[in-house]
């Protein structure tokens, strides 16, 4: 954080990461056009980590965690934030070095800062997925998650992928040396177009918090959950993997909204997660079948 005035803006961090991972051979994708709880849900990660074909992609994914909304009052918690996601299959032998090089690109020098790989067993019960890896710490701060995928959609992967997730806001706060997410410099413009993260997102955080916690129509959400579940099944039956998986993503987000509205009891909760996992597994199976059939 030497010279934080010249630290990268929020959007420049994204651009720097794009350039870096593009140089490593990743296709730079755009965010998936659906609401999801984490970048891992993007089919470029879930579906593409399955099957035998090589794959490398990087993208930003808006992540929605309805329960984490704080009406814009908490400097560290958001119900909508950005993850920067990298996936490479097979995992490269120098994955750790690549990752550290990417931190250098955005101004974090490992000879000046204390970088660590701290044990983290990653698991997603809704996706039926797990992997081993680490939280990446920089000066005691978690600045990313590094995972070697072992299983996705209940299927042991053919070839383990390397997945890296950067929490962009938190990383940017560290790079810029600010203690409130809404104070992040979003761009480097001068004058009226100099915008902070708060200028861009504060209003939305307040409104979505109200929606998530107070207003969302729970009867409708439950109906939609059932619809998504049925549609997913129908599409799986037709072997249409990605459209089916879209419905799985939808169901997962609807569940998160219902959870935030507090209408799901502890026992029901496990059942809902199980239902989403069943969908994820069915989609994964159809996807893998297609990947191997058509070569």
């Amino acid at each position: 954080m030497q010279d934080q005035k010249h630290a990268l803006s929020f959007q420049d961090i994204i651009l720097a990461l794009h350039r870096f991972w593009a140089r490593q051979g990743c296709v730079i994708l755009q965010p998936y056009d659906m609401e999801m709880g984490a970048g891992t849900f993007h089919p470029a990660t879930t579906l593409r980590s399955l099957g035998p074909k090589p794959w490398a992609a990087a993208y930003v994914q808006p992540s929605r965690r309805p329960s984490d909304g704080r009406y814009g009052e908490n400097p560290n918690r958001l119900q909508h934030y950005y993850q920067y996601q990298v996936i490479m299959k097979p995992s490269p032998a120098d994955a750790q070095e690549l990752l550290l090089a990417s931190y250098r690109e955005i101004g974090l020098d490992p000879l000046r800062h204390d970088f660590r790989f701290v044990e983290d067993d990653w698991e997603s019960p809704t996706l039926g997925a797990w992997g081993l890896g680490w939280e990446i710490w920089c000066d005691g701060m978690e600045v990313g998650q590094f995972t070697y995928f072992q299983q996705v959609g209940g299927i042991a992967v053919d070839v383990p992928s390397f997945e890296m997730t950067y929490g962009l806001e938190r990383l940017a706060m560290y790079v810029q040396g600010v203690e409130n997410v809404y104070s992040l410099r979003f761009n480097d413009a001068e004058g009226p177009h100099a915008l902070s993260y708060g200028d861009v997102f504060l209003r939305a955080e307040k409104d979505y918090s109200a929606h998530n916690f107070e207003v969302a129509d729970t009867a409708m959400l439950m109906r939609h959950f059932g619809d998504a579940e049925r549609e997913c099944g129908a599409l799986v039956a037709r072997g249409l993997a990605q459209p089916a998986y879209d419905q799985c993503i939808k169901a997962s987000h609807l569940f998160n909204l219902l959870d935030a509205r507090g209408v799901i009891s502890v026992t029901e909760r496990a059942a809902y997660i199980g239902r989403v996992r069943t969908l994820a597994k069915a989609c994964a199976e159809v996807w893998v079948a297609g990947e191997t059939d058509h070569g």
């Binding site: 954080m1 030497q2 908490n74 400097p75 560290n76 299959k89 097979p90 995992s91 490269p92 032998a93 750790q96 490992p110 000879l111 000046r112 800062h113 204390d114 970088f115 660590r116 790989f117 701290v118 044990e119 067993d121 992997g131 081993l132 890896g133 680490w134 920089c138 000066d139 005691g140 701060m141 070697y148 072992q150 070839v159 383990p160 992928s161 390397f162 560290y174 040396g177 203690e179 009891s265 502890v266």
Partner: protein
């Protein structure tokens, strides 16, 4: 002899696995390289490597052995089978004593062959708690990707492959400070080269460096570091090149309860707390970086301070929010928290603990106000489970309840009782003291024990998922440390009755079994079914009817008491001897009796009397088998010899004295009284023939021995003593 060296260099190994892996590696060398007689085996565990070195023989010595085959006269199939099995041909066999013999002459074998063969194969099956595949590994798994294998015999590479990695002689030092590889030539050179490359590979050395470094860093500010051996071990596994630093805590955040602040520091950040000269929490934290940074650590300290500020800001939020409500306002929410499907919610449990705490306090002689306070604390003790802070840090349950009770104006005694009600959490943890706190802590544990026994969730040999052994040990320690006189069976009865009311169906199913159990344990029972269909038994201590499940739970607690005594190096057979006589459920008194008896047995009089007891018991056993039992009143008119008259008199005197002392609960004095029996007993056996020719005299003398046994049984069943 040759130096064997192996290093398995990988991506970061979880700290908690390193030491066990190093030990496993040493064992593997011991087992797999046994034919090479390994010695000086030494293994290492660090963040990115495990390694082992040993002195081994340069070769497996040649050996000769003989295998006996079938008889010469056996059918040819037998011979064919023997040849096939041993990969031999007929010409290799010799004939001896009517059998075929195969002489095997194993030539000597170079060490490298065994290492690259069987040893490398065993390495591939190394038992990591959790392992993984990666992009280049195929089906091979390791804890994290394996990057290099160094395997040397006297400095020369032993070539083999482990998964996707071929062995060689190149290793690496610190990831950032000295990137790139270096050549390994020997174990000593490896260790020194690593040190020069900013890696302390010996875990003990790392730990000691950190301990000293933290002390020095804190010392510069006139502070000390709070001891935490577990954290020290973990941190020693997270760094290769420990650099100890001190950061400041935001002064405003020192207003948080120290437990909250220090738990967040430890669990989330692996920071050590510091103490000022008076031992109070100081506004600094000590931590360990993995690098000597090029700015002297300024950026690292600033970064860690910022992270802690944000962490503690979270905690401050919960601390402020939680205290906006009174502790008792959370009670209804406990209805939504399941304790166990068959034992209801935490709300139901709080109700049971409330009643039980009151009962225990009363039994311990508390006045009305103290009993009320214990009940109130029992009612509130689980309320913090629904607080924001405990939601975030479950480890703080109880502690937060104590703080919130105080801020809700519940009073110091109630706050303290809530705070300590989970204690003791382990064998070295502090025990709640004072009637109110102890009553609540006992109620918590006794409700747990009673609950899980009633629903049939008893610990098995290997499994104790509800930590019932710990609960039982907690009960024992609270009672003994406070020297409480607690009628344990009656309290267990109250607890079981409460549980049974809430889970009546579950109770009914096991009634028969419980009664059978009570009877099998030889409890002097009038086992019967009460009107409500549940079994009761007689409590021998109080003479009251108690639930038939109680003896089983009581025995479970006593069993823990035996384990405790054993772990303290005390004789548990003495406890058994006392238990079988006393039917006592006052643990403090039981231990007093046990200790008094133990002291007596250790004395010369005691040892002598025990010998006499055994001699009489033997005689009685033999004679009773002929025409016993020989019980009944001694006929003074038939006492012929002076020695038997003296013994009879002594027995009556000692018995009267013993009864008096036991009533006064002066067990040591009661035992000491028995010393008076020694001389008359010795004289009796010296001068009196028990098996007199006169049947009358014989019967009377056997009755005298039975009397001796019974008098001694007033304090303990001496037949239960071992050795």
């Amino acid at each position: 002899m040759a130096e064997f060296f192996l290093e398995l260099f990988s991506e970061e190994i979880p700290a908690r696995m390193q030491q066990a892996a190093a030990e496993q590696l040493a064992k593997l060398v011991g087992a797999q390289l046994a034919p090479l007689s390994p010695r000086d085996v030494r293994s290492f565990g660090a963040a990115r490597r495990i390694a082992v070195t040993a002195t081994i023989a340069a070769e497996v010595p040649a050996s000769a052995s003989e295998l006996r085959g079938p008889k010469l006269a056996a059918p040819p199939q037998a011979l064919e089978g023997f040849l096939r099995k041993n990969g031999a041909v007929r010409e290799e066999l010799v004939e001896e004593d009517g059998y075929f013999l195969l002489r095997l002459n194993l030539p000597s074998r170079p060490a490298g062959e065994l290492i690259a063969g069987e040893f490398a194969q065993a390495l591939a099956g190394f038992g990591w708690p959790k392992s993984m595949r990666w992009g280049q590994s195929g089906a091979f798994t390791w804890v994290r990707p394996l990057r290099r294998v160094v395997c040397l015999l006297d400095g020369t590479v032993v070539p083999f492959t482990l998964g996707p990695v071929a062995s060689g002689d190149e290793s690496e030092g610190h990831r950032f400070l000295t990137p790139g590889a270096f050549r390994v030539r020997s174990a000593a050179q490896w260790q020194e080269e690593l040190r020069a490359r900013f890696v302390i590979v010996d875990a003990d050395e790392r730990r000691e460096r950190i301990r000293a470094g933290l002390r020095a860093a804190a010392g510069e500010k006139g502070l000390g570091v709070a001891e935490d051996a577990g954290l020290l071990d973990e941190v020693a596994g997270l760094v290769e090149w420990p650099v100890c630093l001190i950061g400041a805590i935001d002064p405003g955040q020192m207003a948080l309860p120290p437990e909250v602040r220090e738990l967040s520091m430890k669990v989330n950040q692996r920071y050590f707390a510091t103490r000022d000269a008076a031992g109070n929490p100081a506004p600094y934290f000590a931590f360990v970086a993995n690098i000597a940074a090029n700015d002297g650590g300024a950026a690292i300290i600033a970064g860690n301070e910022r992270v802690l500020r944000a962490r503690l800001a979270d905690a401050e939020h919960f601390w402020a929010q939680d205290r906006k409500q009174r502790l008792d306002s959370w009670l209804p929410k406990l209805d939504a928290v399941t304790f166990h499907a068959k034992l209801g919610t935490q709300h139901a449990r709080a109700g049971r603990i409330e009643a039980l705490a009151r009962e225990i306090a009363r039994a311990l002689g508390a006045d009305q106000a103290a009993a009320d306070a214990a009940a109130r604390a029992g009612r509130l003790c689980k309320a913090d489970l629904v607080s924001g802070m405990v939601g975030e840090f479950p480890e703080l349950q109880g502690i937060m309840g104590g703080y919130y009770a105080a801020s809700s104006g519940e009073g110091e005694a109630i706050a303290a009782a809530i705070r300590t009600h989970y204690q003791p959490k382990g064998p070295s943890d502090e025990v709640p003291s004072g009637v109110i706190a102890a009553a609540v802590a006992l109620a918590d544990k006794i409700d747990t024990l009673a609950g899980f026994f009633v629903i049939g969730e008893k610990p098995t040999g290997s499994g104790d998922p509800y930590a019932l052994r710990r609960a039982a040990l907690g009960v024992i320690r609270i009672v003994l440390v406070n020297r409480f006189a607690l009628p344990l069976r009656q309290i267990l009865d109250v607890a079981v009755e409460r549980i049974s009311e809430s889970s009546f169906e579950a109770a009914e199913k096991t009634t028969d079994k419980a009664i059978a159990y009570a009877q099998s344990q030889n409890v002097p029972v009038g086992a019967r079914l009460s009107a409500r269909g549940r079994g009761t038994v007689l409590d021998p201590a109080s003479g009251k009817q108690i639930n038939s499940r109680v003896p089983e739970i009581f025995d479970f607690i006593i069993d823990r008491l035996r384990v405790l005594l054993r772990s303290e190096g005390k004789r548990f057979d003495v406890l058994n001897a006392v238990l079988d006589t006393a039917w006592d459920d006052d643990l403090t008194r039981l231990i007093a009796r046990t200790e008094a008896l133990g002291a007596f047995l250790a004395s010369e009089d005691g040892a002598n009397l025990l010998a006499a007891y055994r001699r009489s018991a033997n005689i009685l056993r033999i004679e009773d088998a002929k025409d016993g039992p020989h019980e009944g009143t001694i006929d003074p008119g038939l006492l012929a010899e002076a020695a038997e008259i003296a013994l009879a008199d002594a027995l009556e005197a000692v018995d009267r004295e013993a009864v008096r002392r036991l009533t006064d609960e002066d067990f040591a004095a009661a035992m000491r009284g028995f010393a008076a029996l020694r001389a008359p007993v010795d004289a009796f056996f010296d001068h009196v023939t028990v098996n007199a020719t006169s049947a009358e005299l014989r019967r009377n003398r056997l009755r005298l021995l039975a009397r001796l046994r019974d008098v001694m049984h007033r304090v303990a069943d001496f037949s239960k003593l071992e050795g």
